[in-house]
Amino acid sequence: MDASRREFAKLVTASGIALSLSRLAFANEPGFAARETLPGRQRWNPAAAGEGRIDGVAKVTGAKLYASDFRAADMPGWPKHTAHAMLIRTANATHIYEGIDLAPLSGALKPSVFVTATDLARIGARVPSFYSGDLFCPVGKTPLYLGQPAALLIYESFDAFDQARLALRNEALLKFGLETGPVIKRDYGAFRFTRVAGATPDAPDVCSPVKDGWVSPGFFQNGERPIWARLPEPTGAAYVKAADYGEQIRAELDANAPSLLVLDRDFETQSIDPMFLEPECGLAWYDADRKNLELVLGVQSPYDSATSIATLLGNARASFKPAHIHAHFAYMGGGFGGRDHTPFPLYVALAAMFLPGRPVRLAHDRYQQFQAGIKRHAFKIHTRIGVDRATGKISAFAADHELDGGGLANFSASVAAVSANAAIGIYDVPKVDVTTVALHSRGVTAGSMRGYGTLQTMTALEVLIDEAASTLAIDPIEFRRRNALKTGGRTMAGNTYDVVVRTPEILDRLENHSIWRQRVEERAHGRRAGSVVGTGVACVTKDYGSGADASLSSVEIDPEGRISIHCDHVEMGNGIGTALANRVAAHLGAVADEVAVAEVDRYAVLGLVTSGDPHTMDQATQDAAQRDPRWVPAISAPTSSSIGAHVGTHSASEAARVIFRFGLWPAALELWGLAPTDPRVATLDAARWEQGRLVMSDLRPLPLSEIAARAHARKGVTAAMAHSFSRWSWSKATFAMGGQSWTADIDALAVRKSSGKFVRLDRIDVKFPPTVFNRIGTSYTSLCGALVRVEIARATGALRIAKAYTVLECGRALTPEIVLGQAQGGFAMGVGYALLESLPLYEDGPGNGQWNLGQYLIARGSDLPLQGLEIEVLPPLPNDPPKGMAEVVMIPIVPALLNAIFDATGRRFHALPVTQQMLKGALT
């Protein structure tokens, strides 16, 4: 999955580029790192009293925070002047590219530097395998996709750049010849997930992905599509076995048994843009004298960006091969998945390398962001579901998914697998057969986006479930309750969830809500003349985590009790900084004064090494690798898959626990004057923080500052640095600490005593999650249900959401206000996806470079029930960990809207979006 990481291991030996993503020390004016460390010691911290986010003041005062805010002059130690680069992209992917004609760019409009595929070949640039495909379309080839770059132009002055970009709107620089049609390539990934449950709930599965492995079909010769039937040639016994079971399931559905209701439906979803508000951009400077490449970037996957740039240049000829790469990662103006593993940083690096000595800025405008930014996959979904008429229970489910992956592979194969594993949503179905294939096309590349394919498959599912329930005249919530997977039940991969499945509670809340209870009267009476009213429900479950997640953190406390946190996860609006501060405060008694995020390289003392692909390695390889006490399956992971709370804050939480146990607690015992033999010494779990004081019954409450001072004075542990890894379960390791052993859900640890230096501790023992867990679709999941009431004007088809209710569970919410905010934002994005947003896939779509927000409509305030959305978060269960929730909250909104539209109009829509025109058509 993460090829660039694999290459990195080779790279440090092969290329000798030293990667550094470290803070730079600057005098006088605030350097990048200081600007990005919030809120800063001397500043008001809204998070300290729960009054706001740790980045609150910076964001309401317009502080330089985002990658797009930085120019060379803002970077101490850099040359002051910024040059500007632009990418020329193709709007043609069906004809042979014959080259670029720069004649229209004369005089001041002539670029200082001009880079094409030929130049990349000349310098020996190497495309990281994750981004495989020509970075620039070579002359003589048909472009691989719409929006593929053909050239990079660099201007030394902003004015020349600005004039050139205006002039270029009127010119066709790119020349094309013979029509070839689009480039045909094999699919990006195809899988078949087939599960047949045992005869009883306790019996082992007859067949399942966990038990029998994931299988992929064979291919027609020279064909780009898989064949799903049994292979024409005997090349895969595992596939044949799954396919046999799958075909049996389909045969049962085809049999027309009178006892079975079978619905056979198609559903189509559209391509959309994440439309984060800050277009992608970056700033880079190659100091040729020191062979030092510095970058400022805003991405969800900093580790990938840095290592991918190192791969790109690692084999280049001497003058294009930096000795050091220093990458600085900034706050992001939104991400939603679209900034996870984007190729954009590669072009930023190239711009700097081709104009050495001069800082260069590369920034998309919105047209370019539509043309080149990662998109959500369009799906074609064919589903058959069989429901026993007597019991109302789903007996079999078969589906075929086809994803349009666009021009580059990116995460398409992964999205295909994840979305297929979500195909049966919250339900317990004994026989499931799902095929999925992600196809290459000439469209703009699709990749990660909030929901990651499950939005598409669960929307299709929840609309189908609504239809099944109404066909059988069973209440839709009762139908869901009857079929819901219970705690301990098996997913369609064949594993059980690690977390409590709280579907019954969610369904109860939905059923008891007034929106649901009053649906019949509301539908009958309506509210206004000339409109129809309907109510819809949906309930979904969404995994969090990617199956190979990691975080790195250090936590420090000074003698005054002030806390600093550093973390490799990034801030894109999700409130990771505030969540880190709150999670650490639970252990250390105070909210941090300083939080620095997106720091990937502050943890050199851990000396971590990695090898292999954590998603695909076998057990023997992992066993051999882990003999190196510094080896971990993955060093740093993107901030994605809703892992901020669960994984992103985990290492900081574990580091804080170490500080408490080996620094603050012994200091407190000393302050209380408790002898080592006192039985209370062992009762640290009974101690609790209250308003900045450590409280133990019958003992004097101790202010944090007093404990911290003592911990420093007695040379206790005052800082800790930890790494954690999760493959649907945490790594667990044991360390020797001052004669005692410490076992925790981490796999690397360093500590600092008093104000000394960090010292790495060798782990005595480690247990990494077994590699067989790679077959698990997921083991972590959270739930969300939604109700919406819509009013649709008969004459115009205008839809108004009168009221809505979202109920979710996410374990322990680290920052409840941010959880609510995510749920509200997810609602808005769901409304946009269901009713407004749509991008044509090919020539008429964003790849033509002509799209902006006049054509592409996202939800505005006036599209939403600003006073009518109620959100409820279930209280956490005892010992609930923080769970991911940023994706799940968007998903049920979409099918709930479609189900409400059906309730109002009697028409089931099987394609998105459902626009006002379509509704008007349905009502007249």
Partner: protein, 171 residues
């Protein structure tokens, strides 16, 4: 080329020559380094680039900067997100945005802050009835796009500043 002078957050800039094609957004961000004013769409459709223009008659309005030439701002007095707080003291609206967790990524915040501030100042001169308040806020903010929050908390944050001082903003 046009020679322009203007007042930004109370400070005089210029005279300086600008190309007639230069947008006000690029003037602020590329020439002056004032990047608190964002660039979102470049087409006047998201309004994350909006600043406050203070007219000589004492009224104020917001204006996008991405589709208006810098030359058009000659002689004008504007306020940007960097100019709301004075000596580190946040305005009531800035405080309210923080209290309500009104933003997430924060990229649209400058535009909402400017629009909300203009609304507050307008209501202080021409108050509205309590019953019209929600619609008044919705109308004022509807031009601004936000992708993270769903707008709910921006509206609550503006409303709560008004409700905290009803004698000033409401009839």
């Amino acid at each position: 080329m046009t020679t322009v002078s203007m007042k930004i957050n109370g400070r005089a800039y210029g005279p300086v020559t600008v190309r007639d094609e230069l947008t006000m957004n690029d003037f602020l961000r590329e020439r002056l380094g004032l990047t608190g004013t964002k660039f979102g769409c470049g087409a006047g459709q998201c309004l994350s680039c909006a600043v406050i223009v203070d007219d000589p008659d004492g009224t104020s309005h917001t204006s996008p900067t991405c589709i208006v030439p810098a030359a058009r701002f000659n002689g004008k007095s504007i306020r940007t997100v960097e100019g709301h707080a004075t000596n580190g003291e946040l305005t009531a609206l800035q405080r309210s945005f923080i209290d309500h967790f009104a933003f997430q990524c924060g990229y649209c915040t400058a535009g909402f802050l400017n629009e909300g501030q203009v609304l507050l100042e307008r209501l202080a001169k021409t108050p509205v009835a309590r019953a019209d308040l929600e619609k008044t806020i919705a109308d004022a903010l509807d031009g601004h796009l936000c992708r993270c929050t769903g707008y709910f908390r921006y509206h609550e944050a503006v409303r709560d500043v008004i409700l905290a001082d009803p004698g000033r903003y409401l009839t």
